[in-house]
Amino acid sequence: MIKMLSLLLISSFLLADAFNEEVQKQSLNISAIVMFILFVGATLVITYWAAKRTSTAKDFYTAGGGISGFQNGLAIAGDYMSAASFLGISALVYANGYDGLIYSIGFLVGWPIILFMVAEKLRNLGKFTFADVASYRLSQKPIRILASFGAIATVTLYLIAQMVGSGKLIQLLFGLDYEVAVLLVGVLMILYVTFGGMLATTWVQIIKAVLLLSGASFMAFMVMKNMGFSFEALFAKAIEVHPKAEAIMAPGGLISDPVSAISLAIALMFGTAGLPHILMRFFTVSNAKEARKSVFYATGFIGYFYMLTFIIGFGAIVLVSTNPEYLEAGKALIGGNNMAAIHLSHAIGGDLFLGFISAVAFATILAVVSGLTLAGASAISHDLYANVFVSGKHDEKKEMKVSKIATIVLGLVTILLGIAFEEQNIAFMVGLAFAIAASANFPILFLSIYWSKLTTRGAFYGGSLGLLTAIILVILGPIVWVDILGNAQALFPYKYPALFSVSLAFVGIYLFSITDKSPRAKEEEAAFEHQFIRSETGIGSEGASKH
């Protein structure tokens, strides 16, 4: 495995040489390459170590359930502090100022809700995937099929966003061709997940979270140092040099009407509670107590990180947009707005720190796509294969084999989609993933935990309604219908469909459940009481496996 990887790396660097003639501006950054190789080397050692400890399905999906609350908090924060967040939100702040903060706050406030409503119940009821919880007392096949489609759709959209970010970043840093960069990320992530499972994925995520938080802290510190540690001076200077002037200090175009505002808020809040790769992390800790602690630490790290990106975005306005070294002939940033944070790292710390931040950003992409791929593969192997196709009568070895094949297939599909979506704004792509998570995954999960009258029929039809509505409205909306398909006018006027699709899902689930008079519906309602006691006490739930 290691030999294969080093071959891949060497060949990609040779390729970088070949491209050097075309992309003269992107001279090879030796410190970036050294730090990148160190990171990849370290993560491969971890993968090797994890592979030896990953023998059962429980190890593969949940790292044996032995991750601590603090570690899991860091890993969750790591999943959330994606390249799309780091580069996308600092780009949003760079381009629009205050609007970037609105976006971050939306991403953050989902976390308290997850803690108060979902986290411990999820831990007490589930085993490997959130579909375990959704289908706890309902009919396995239809619910698993629907939940896994919701999971795969969410994961795929999120993956595209990460891939686009990675392609652009590596293109800028190494002068590599976009397609080659995407391919490199895809192959590395397949290696981590197939060999190291959740244990490798978690530790890669933890290391990256620590590196990213340290790097971003240093950037924000240097920005403030430059401004004499005065926010007044930072904002005053930003207003002076930004083309939008004072407008960057106030809400602007991101949210232009109340429907979009509420729709975005719902997508971000409930979407977070429906992200399969995040929900999966609650099964890696040993009990509800650790699950709660995870959210507390995660919220702290994520909130701190968003404050840093806000300072970083403003720092880039002041220190990057005024320096012709980082600008194209016009006024645009070299590599686009998503590179604001990367250029800032060079402006404050030279080639060495640029190398560090680039390597960290790359590490971020690798870590996040690995977590996503693992969640997608689990939906295929644990939900679809083990509980639908062979419905429980499977052997574990085969299930793990299926999950590895699923990882590889998902990796290849992601590479192709990453190439197809090159020109889209990556922060908005994540928004779309959230809409689907909020409209399909969250309503089923939430009602299965809290509503005794939920039936299989209600969950299946209502959930499908939410899923389809979200997908169709996204396709008919401005982002796909106009920007990608090139039509003049969107058939659905809003960028964020969540307000409509989430409401439809809840109404649909309610109506199809209360009108369900089948004997099965009665059994499902009767089964709620024991499920409820388990969700409240954790009695009967999965413990950590002792190694």
Binding site: Y98, L101, I102, S104, I105, G106, L108, V109, W111, P112, I113, L115, F116, M117, E120, F231, E232, F235, A236, I239, E246, M249, A250, P251, G252, I255, D257, P258, S260, A261, I262, L264, A265, M269, S286, N287, K289, R292, K293, V295, F296, T299, G300, G303, Y306, M307, E529, H530, I533, R534, E536, T537, I539, G540
Partner: protein, 106 residues
């Protein structure tokens, strides 16, 4: 195999009280964060100029910035408040209940 234990726990009045208290507590905290966040987002939608006003005469810092940062801090503090009470008070009661019905606890 846990059916008997579930029924035993359910009959315990202390369990009923625990569930009620915990639910009331998490609903209260959820309401606080939802109310704050939706006020924030609706202010942006309907009256964005409020957030554009300077925090004091002559400052370039707009009101929206401390409000936004404050919201991030409140979200974090609320998770701390919940975890503290749940991991100490609620879990202590729960562990006592588990002992009563003969279930191992952590």
């Amino acid at each position: 195999m846990y059916a008997d234990i579930y029924d035993k726990i359910k009959a315990d009045s202390e369990f009923q009280t625990l569930v009620k208290e915990r639910r009331a507590f998490s609903l209260k905290l959820s309401f606080i964060i939802l109310a704050l966040y939706f006020s924030f987002i609706l202010t942006i939608a309907y009256a964005p100029s409020i957030f554009a006003t300077p925090i004091f005469e002559g400052s370039v810092i707009s009101l929206g910035i401390p409000v936004g940062i404050g919201l991030i801090l409140i979200a974090f503090i609320l998770t701390g408040v919940y975890v503290k009470r749940a991991n100490h008070d609620f879990d202590a009661t729960l562990n006592r209940l588990k002992e009563d019905v003969g279930v191992q606890h952590d």
